[in-house]
Point group: C2
């Protein structure tokens, strides 16, 4: 490709609403443009990256025998009513009507569609297992689309669905996808971790998220400093923290003015935060009030709370609800509150909070706390269960080594759905005994466009993007320093043709621009290898080769340049970088 023909309008200024590197650089480099909130066009350079990722996904899906299909984006409301998700999905689903008044959604996911697609035709255990997949635009009406491709409203997803006769088959299909995902993200050059995750709204019981590790990520991941263990913070189950034993003292009511936070309280009383026990209260489905007690330095894991209690929607409890159960907002604890009935009112205490000796907690009286609280003596009728997030230094549940908390971008997820959708949609096959059974299903997603953003978050510097070779828009850029120097133009042109003949994916910057502009653009767009043709090229017969990712530069004779570039590319590829 000739740069003079390439439509890639670069920007000199970073747009104000672009907060993270991937968003900034894709706009600056002319890879994407915004057409509306969370709606983007991919310009030629961006589209090239996306197509390369799609090709890698396609190859790896073929390798595991998954078959490519294409389902409609527009889905009839009926099948969502059948599964019960038409209303449950909430305002994130785009809905529309046709000219006859029939209702449709723009698919945020395709469990309903795939299940109804196969339910009358995948009839026998003999036809299974089968995994079908597609690569397609998906739609989510994010309340606040942001971060460019990271959280957009229209995005490309690869979604796969497996159909097995039993759990054992599902484990195998799941494992195949898991391994394919590992290969895909490895080939894309990402630094990623598969982490144990909570299955959330989609249902099912076993799931991993593939997380690209990056500070800009919206997910928190617990990662062992020693072994392979990694889990979404919502999923990770911390062990109880022990504290040095003390003789239990008598409970005292103390006045604690102006202590609206746990930190204020600890400071006022001159005690460490660990000696306080804090309270957070939720409503689940507007029916159940749940008081949660954790140690002052810990945070409540609301997913753990919801998983323990059940229900669909968890929200902060209102003041009225709290008061109805004898709870004083800001000064809550089980002490002095109603007795939990474990039907409409629950009190959950985290094991680490149970271990606090002679601690401080709310007195359910404005401006007052209790001190010398020993939960196993003083908290009556409560339920002890782990409801806190892991923190740095907690013990790894697998090996006991201390964990770290890192941030990640979710680029893929694999789910064991089981029979949730096949039962809801009455989708069955006949087993070996001629008995109708629901499919045992799995589903598997990759955020294709989000993967682009994740790669940039991981691989960039202050000058621009540093693409992994496998997904770079072009592998090599040739930059003649002066477009007016006929020798340079000729040498660059010859190299361009030679590299094309050698099947390299090469761009020649033949634009009539200053050298600085061309170098800056090459760094910004992030071609893995740059060949500079300058004055020395004609005089001494050499060119300079620079590797964007490592910054390494070398000067090589022109007649060895093609071979050297090929060797460098092969080396980078072999390292998935």
């Amino acid at each position: 490709m000739l740069a003079s023909k390439l439509y890639s309008p670069t920007l000199r200024e970073i747009p104000a609403d672009a907060e993270i590197a991937s968003h900034q650089y894709m706009l600056k480099a002319g890879m994407i443009r915004k057409n509306g909130g969370g709606l983007y066009s991919f310009l030629p350079l961006g589209r090239r990256v996306e197509l390369k990722i799609e090709a890698i996904v396609r190859e790896e899906m073929e390798n595991i025998g998954a078959q490519e299909i294409m389902m409609p984006i527009m889905q009839p409301a009926e099948i969502w009513h059948e599964s019960g998700r038409w209303n449950a999905y909430g305002p994130e689903m785009f809905k529309l009507e046709d000219r006859h008044g029939n209702h449709f959604c723009l698919g945020p996911t395709h469990e309903e569609l795939i299940t109804t697609l196969v339910r009358n035709e995948l009839r026998s255990y003999k036809q299974m297992p089968v995994t079908l997949w597609q690569m397609q635009n998906k739609y989510r009406d994010e309340i606040r689309p942001r971060f460019g491709l990271m959280r957009s409203r229209e995005f490309v997803m690869k979604d796969a669905y497996s159909f097995d006769v039993d759990e054992e088959g599902l484990h195998k299909s799941y494992q195949d996808e898991y391994e394919a995902y590992t290969r895909i993200f490895t080939r894309c050059g990402l630094n990623f971790k598969p982490v144990e995750a909570d299955s959330g709204q989609i249902g099912g019981n076993h799931t991993h998220e593939f997380m690209a590790l990056a500070q800009a990520g919206e997910a928190e991941i617990v990662s062992c400093s020693k072994c392979d263990y990694a889990a979404d913070i919502e999923k990770a189950v911390p062990q109880a923290v022990e504290m040095p034993a003390e003789d239990a003292k008598d409970v005292e009511l103390i006045e604690t003015p102006n202590c609206s936070t746990i930190e204020d309280l600890a400071q006022f009383l001159h005690i460490p935060v660990e000696k306080t026990i804090k309270a957070v209260a939720f409503t689940i489905d507007g029916e159940k009030t749940v008081l949660c007690m954790v140690r002052g330095d810990h945070e409540v894991n609301d997913v753990a709370v919801q998983n323990f209690i059940g229900g669909n929607v968890i929200e902060p409890a209102t003041e009225d609800e709290l008061k109805a159960h004898g709870l004083q907002p800001g000064y809550m604890s089980p002490m002095g509150a109603d007795k939990p009935d474990n039907e409409t009112f629950f009190v959950l205490v985290d094991p680490s909070a149970m271990n606090v000796p002679n601690g401080v907690t709310g007195a359910n009286k404005a401006g007052y706390h209790y001190q010398n609280v020993n939960p196993s003596r003083d908290f009556k009728d409560v339920t002890v269960t782990t409801i806190r997030n892991m923190v740095e230094g907690d013990k790894c549940p697998h090996c006991g080594a201390p964990v770290e908390i890192v941030r990640g971008i979710e680029v893929g997820q694999v789910f064991e759905l089981g029979t949730k959708y096949s039962e809801a949609l009455h989708a069955t096959f006949l087993d070996q005994n001629g008995k109708a059974k629901p499919y045992v299903m799995g589903c598997y997603g990759i955020g294709v466009t989000r993967t682009i953003a994740a790669a940039i978050e991981q691989f960039h510097d202050e000058h621009g993007i540093m693409w992994p070779v496998a997904i770079a828009p072009f592998e090599v850029a040739i930059v003649p320093v002066s477009s007016k120097d006929q020798d340079q133009v000729r040498i660059a042109g010859d190299l361009y043709q030679a590299l094309q003949a050698a099947k390299a994916d090469v761009l020649l910057d033949d634009r009539n621009e200053r050298a600085g502009v061309k170098f800056n653009d090459a760094d910004l767009i992030g071609y893995p290898v740059r060949i500079t043709v300058g004055k020395k090229s004609a005089a001494e017969g050499t060119v300079e080769i620079k590797v964007r990712r490592t910054g390494e530069q070398e000067v090589v004779p022109i007649d060895q340049a093609v071979a050297r570039v090929q060797a460098i590319l092969a080396d980078l590829r072999s390292k998935n970088m």
Copy 2:
């Protein structure tokens, strides 16, 4: 691919709503499934065909230097308001709202989006010409989706948009796309014709439709029996037909009971239909009434009428409108009606109707006609202009030879848009003199999914599909007659591996099915080449090779089978069949 693993549920019965071969066979062969009115899933075999067409399109777009992009499907209403098409597009456009109440459409086309995408960044004549294209789902809320992929509501289109500095540049971009389209449809194996067409609602002044010739097509095409001329019937301009001269007789009012059609009238009066002059009336934009007179055996071309008068919406006139202008429904003519003011009431007469000597036409009195009408004498204040469709035998406007009328499926269209959208959307560049000028644009579409249907309409027999090699889901199928015969299974398996090693796109029918089922499925799905491994294969060391398209069969030694299949495929490919 192993047939036992392939998800392609064939049907034994043709679904009732499938009226044409492509729809029937794609359903029967398990290539597509309906998920709602005009909404289809592509199963693995169908998706393979589509991907092959997409690859051909991509290659040919690259060949002409067009650059691939991807725009959002969901488009903000604002840009359609800006161009004036938000309301003008009518009920075929799917519209929706997001959670904040903002309006969007699902793109039926992308002129607005591409123009606003580039308008602030394609700033200089130096950056042009540039052609950008994408391959994407498009949406049209057809009032009656039918014929499977031929007229669906969600379909895959390739759409390209060119930006030039002047008309001359546009002609060149247009010609490049025209030639690329010719290569694309040739490579896809279609029997097609580029025909001159009317530019219709999208605007612009020069356009060709690429028509796949097929009886199931919805378009009528005028095609010269001798030269290259071909035009959409709406676009073709027929010459006036002469009739033998007669002495003009006096007009007479005659009673014509029960003559509600022109045929009844001719029969009642014992005259040829050619001696009658019939009337059809329209309303344009609800403001203008247009009475159209054509010879009794001709049909009115409403597009020609609309182009002559102008306006957006042409509909049949209502009885009230007719009576307001002195016209009697069923007995209309200019004689006895109001005088046309050429503002709200027009009378257009086709030149061939003007040539009818002593003809019969309506008397604007129920049950009566005039005879011995000579239009040039008797039709007062009318406008003579060509408003009829061509018919078989009309003279070719290029060479004068008789034309034929054939049917076609529109699979592609190329348009010279000119400055219609760039002016409406204030999208300009700076020319060599630093003057702002609107882009001179072209747009170019291919119905990718419709091309699949067109290929089947052209290439099928009573047993099923006969795919052109270039777009067949698999090029070769190997069928062992008995899946229980170990020799056959081994020979078939060896051939499968050998063909895979030779890079053939091959399917092995390893299913435990009767030979008849396997043969029928192979014919139905339409693999171009079938290798049959039977009893003789083990006994005599031969296999049978059958070419689906020609029906030719031959018996070859097993060790020559791979080479022979490759030769057959190469031969078919070279003939684009």
